[in-house]
Symmetry: C2
Subunit: 389 residues, 2 copies
């Protein structure tokens, strides 16, 4: 959380402890320090779905992700700028990271055309035609006053050919360098000290992953993201490529695995040296009634919870678990009450935030392996478990 | 709010001030005093839609309404009883009033058959057949541990004949007396000191309204509701019948106008001596983007708010108005964000709660007429007003 007294130059990344490849660090931003490894709740359109800023503060969430693509289209980055940037507009005082928009252009937009200049796409809202260039995407994120901005990249689909992926990697590298030039050119008028990360790509080809990192890692980006994973590939392929790529990234910069993932993915990522994660999983699953607990995943819809007066997770201290029974949570969910969506979302976010908090403590204590084994034993059973009375 | 130190025998109704026919009083319940005139947020299925108990406490809401019909069908009054009654089940510590179920049986149920014994109806959820008798409805509300219970009544439709209404009034009276017998018989085993109100009916016939009151007002009900108004009649007819009926009710018992209404209806009701109100209007309108402010009703969807950085209502101190701009609230609403529904609901509830708080203060100061005139001047314009810059 932002604390004026402790203000340190944004971009400074201090590794405090290491346990195997797992790292415990602090990334300083213009809106306060980010303790890593960190899970970033996703606030696509400037709101983490179903929860409010006070909920996020109560959970102990730190940095929030906003989607550049969505915010550019609605309400518009210039409107957000007129309202003081994302922090003031959304009334969340902590740091924001915004993605490059690349992934959304490729996943949400019906039509798109990539050229050297950038990518032309049609809005998923009204079909309107838009152009993203590396320079424009930096400008949009400056308007949002994002603490951590990402350079425009192309996210190639799983199964793309080597030839296509190679061309794409080089284009992403050229776009990243143009982003960096635009970043430096805009520093003087910036509202605050926004940081710029590059996104490494390379699909599922190790030599292209290596080429991407080599193109980018010697430049003065504040951190490096790993893009193009968790796009439909088998889990072991993702883990192998993550293992390979994470090891190539510079030790002294934060590493961000985009759009990942489950608690198992997160502890695996941490074990391979990843510092930052984001995913819609906790909030999306909350809205479907799937809840993460210290005993595994449960579906609150199930009849077995109808008369269960215990809290959702006795190991959890969130507002939901402190105040409400499983019986009431089930009743709210099956009755279609909006409160169910908020209470479920608060709990799932608290679970993910607490997961990374515990990971940080275990790295400090050199007990990360044991912590990882605990999470693995809880989540190896991928179907809903029955929590016995 | 509940305060053990100030615990006074439930049912005690103390009038503290009077200004014309408007009364400022306190109704003591097993879960704390209710300061009247009071607006009761509607928590149909045990949740005031889109808000949580902490929101209600922050707004300063006192007594909450639960719908007996809904809670009986889902999750079931016996389940609620096993979980400590409504207060413990829903985690709201303040008083609850539950209605008789009569209105819902007549408005939601596809099939119903009224006999001397009670009313047979089909659930709107699964079509299942159920019977409500006066005795059963008291038992259900005891299971809910309602602080203020209502006797089963028949709510006749607007336009019902004199003949039908007369028969119905007499049946409602007989049901009320059976309810009172069941109430007394059950007092010994009650979890707490639940109060029982009778519902007066009589359609739009003054002599039948009078007959209904005369049948019931000499009995030891803790209070009297006026039912069968706001069922589709013109406003002046409602006000005339309310004026007539309120004047007949005993001075020393609380008077509750069921299912009403707008800010104008509420100040009119207060001016005629009504103490208690409930309505879905603030929460339902909030979910449609219609918001009540000190300057009138506004629709937050309108483009004119897109770039408006002022709070929704500068005269309001709710979480929504303290923290968020109209521009952000409009963005959330047009983007379909769930947070919009909570923030809008918090504000509208705060408006209605504050309306009755101000009414109470004005009665104490003998300035109720001026307060009523202020509210009338704000809401005479029934279309959306434009709040100028």
């Amino acid at each position: 959380m932002h604390n004026k007294k402790d203000h340190i130059t944004p971009g400074l990344f201090r590794i405090k402890a290491q346990d195997g490849r797992a790292r415990r660090a602090t990334l300083h931003t213009a809106h306060g320090p980010v303790e890593t490894p960190v899970f970033m709740p996703v606030g696509t359109a400037g709101s983490v779905k179903a929860v409010a800023p006070d909920d996020l503060l109560a959970i102990g969430a730190g940095i929030i992700l906003g989607n550049t693509y969505h915010l550019y289209l609605r309400p518009g980055d210039e409107l957000v700028a007129r309202h003081g940037g994302l922090h003031q507009f959304t009334a969340y005082p902590g740091p924001f990271l915004t993605d490059s928009g690349g992934f959304q252009v490729f996943s949400l937009s019906a039509l798109r055309k990539i050229t050297e200049e950038g990518v032309v796409f049609n809005s998923h809202l009204d079909g309107g035609r838009h152009l993203f260039t590396p320079e424009k995407v930096v400008r949009i994120q400056r308007n949002l006053n994002s603490d951590v901005m990402l350079a425009l990249d192309e996210c190639v689909a799983y199964g793309s050919s080597r030839e296509y992926t190679e061309k794409s990697v080089r284009l992403t590298s050229r776009w990243a360098l143009r982003s960096l030039d635009a970043y430096h050119a805009g520093q003087a008028e910036a509202r605050s000290d926004n940081l710029l990360f590059a996104v490494t790509q390379g699909g599922f080809f190790t030599d292209l992953r290596k080429a991407s990192v080599e193109d980018l890692c010697c430049r003065d980006f504040a951190g490096f993201a790993i893009g193009g994973l968790s796009v439909g590939e088998p889990k072991d392929e993702m883990y192998a490529m993550l293992d390979f790529t994470a090891a190539l990234l510079p030790r002294d910069k934060p590493r961000y695995l985009m759009g990942v993932g489950t608690p198992l993915d997160i502890v695996t990522g941490i074990s391979l040296g990843i510092d930052m994660f984001d995913c819609v999983l906790p909030t999306r699953n909350a809205r479907n009634g799937t809840l993460y607990t210290s005993r595994g995943k449960i579906n609150i819809k199930r009849r077995e919870y109808a008369d269960d007066d215990r809290p959702l997770d006795e190991a959890c201290n969130c507002y939901t678990c402190r105040g409400f029974s499983r019986a009431y949570l089930r009743h709210l969910f099956v009755s279609g009450e909006l409160l169910a969506l908020r209470l479920n979302s608060i709990h799932n976010l608290a679970y993910f935030i607490d997961l990374t908090r515990r990971a940080r403590a275990s790295i400090e204590n050199n007990t990360f392996d044991r912590f990882k084994a605990e999470i693995e034993s809880v989540f190896q059973v991928t179907t809903d478990i029955r929590i016995e009375k």
